[in-house]
Symmetry: C2
Subunit: 237 residues, 2 copies
């Protein structure tokens, strides 16, 4: 009985360290290249699934230092990508303005513009990957895959579903690298949508709820495009 | 042999669902009030430890809807708290300016101001809680506790260390609620520090690395206080 107890404790401890005792096979080491690359990317994006994590003192200290440097760097990288994406996004807005400007208010065109980019991003980074994951991952249905994409791209990262961790996953390193690329690109589009959303002051819920008297009135161009009036504080001063 | 295999699979599956098979005791249900409250708070703050997670279809769908509403609401709450904290923080900056203004450049005073608030926050929300966790949690040393605080307040949330999950934790619900309060307050101070850091344009690494020509030149008051010169683009236009 005490032997069984010991075995159970061992199995649980091994499982918590990412080693499955089921099926007597030699599993890949936890810190293989693909797995480590994926782990690093989940640290710097603050997703943090936690399926693998440092166990040693040195590992924990390195993880802290790596995050202190890596998180701001990743944020700068994503911001730079968003800046690039804003060029075609703004082009689309101008095009919509030129086509629909005589029919609708600038605010409505802005919302329509956001809806277009939001829908395209949703299909590209939620629906489409979910279909792929549901196909590739054993035991994941479409809802599981969609749930995984959502939990990851909001950087919650529960870690209950992690792609590429099947026992007999073929081309695991490549697969993990591809997922990392997907996550970075997906987060970029999440940031783009938040940026575009923030550019529409009427949709700013915080401003609305907090009656934010301290917030800046925004630049005149933004005010003009969003239709809050042509006379900005700048000209009234 | 196949019986043992079956037992191992059962133990692992139970463990992955948060039920430890070790020690034949009836553990508290996973979704007790304290645990659920804590889980909810880790969703809306995007920490997402993942020690408990929805298993049913309905749970997953609810979790997605809850996050869509909860994350922006939490962000607004934290922003509102930061706004309140900015009042004493700005008061401290003015006080420092009045005392040290004749000795140092405004930029140096700003950095000193940030360093003071950063150090106080670090002691209050990293060192102090770490000492408490190292005392309260069985098997956590100071480094483990510091690592837990860091991983949580960066919203990485690996979930390898979670306070209040010991088998015989006394007053678990109260403890979990206290940790939730700590996390929200800690995240507020992280946001405050980021806000103060962003207010010093010379420290803006992104601007420096990306040669951000598109970024706004900042309000004149900020420029004046940070010492980038009194003549702002506004007056040159």
């Amino acid at each position: 009985d005490s032997d069984l107890e010991e075995l159970i404790v061992e199995i649980i401890s091994a499982n918590n360290r990412g080693v499955s005792a089921a099926k007597n096979v030699t599993s890949e080491p936890n810190w293989s290249f693909g797995q480590s690359f994926f782990f690093s990317s989940t640290i710097v994006t603050t997703i943090g699934y936690g399926h693998v994590h440092p166990l040693s003192e040195g590992g924990k200290i390195f993880c802290i230092i790596y995050a202190i440097i890596g998180i701001p760097m990743t944020f700068i990288l994503l911001t730079a990508l968003v800046e690039r994406l804003l060029v075609p996004a703004t082009w689309l807005l101008y095009w919509l303005n030129s086509k629909l400007g005589h029919l609708y208010q600038p605010f409505n065109i802005r919302v329509f513009h956001l809806a277009i980019i939001g829908t395209v991003s949703f299909v590209l980074f939620m629906v489409f990957p979910s279909l792929i994951f549901a196909k590739l991952e054993p035991g994941w249905d479409f809802l599981d895959s969609l749930y995984y994409c959502f939990i990851s791209l909001t950087t919650i990262g529960l870690g209950d579903y992690i792609p590429g961790d099947a026992q007999d996953q073929p081309m695991r390193p490549l697969y993990k690298v591809c997922i990392t690329g997907y996550l970075l690109l997906g987060l970029t589009f999440v940031m783009l949508i938040l940026h575009l959303y923030n550019d529409i002051p009427q949709l700013n819920l915080g401003l609305f709820l907090l009656r934010g008297s301290e917030t800046s009135p925004g630049d005149p161009e933004r005010m003009r495009l969003s239709g809050t009036g042509g006379i900005t504080p700048k000209y009234t001063q």
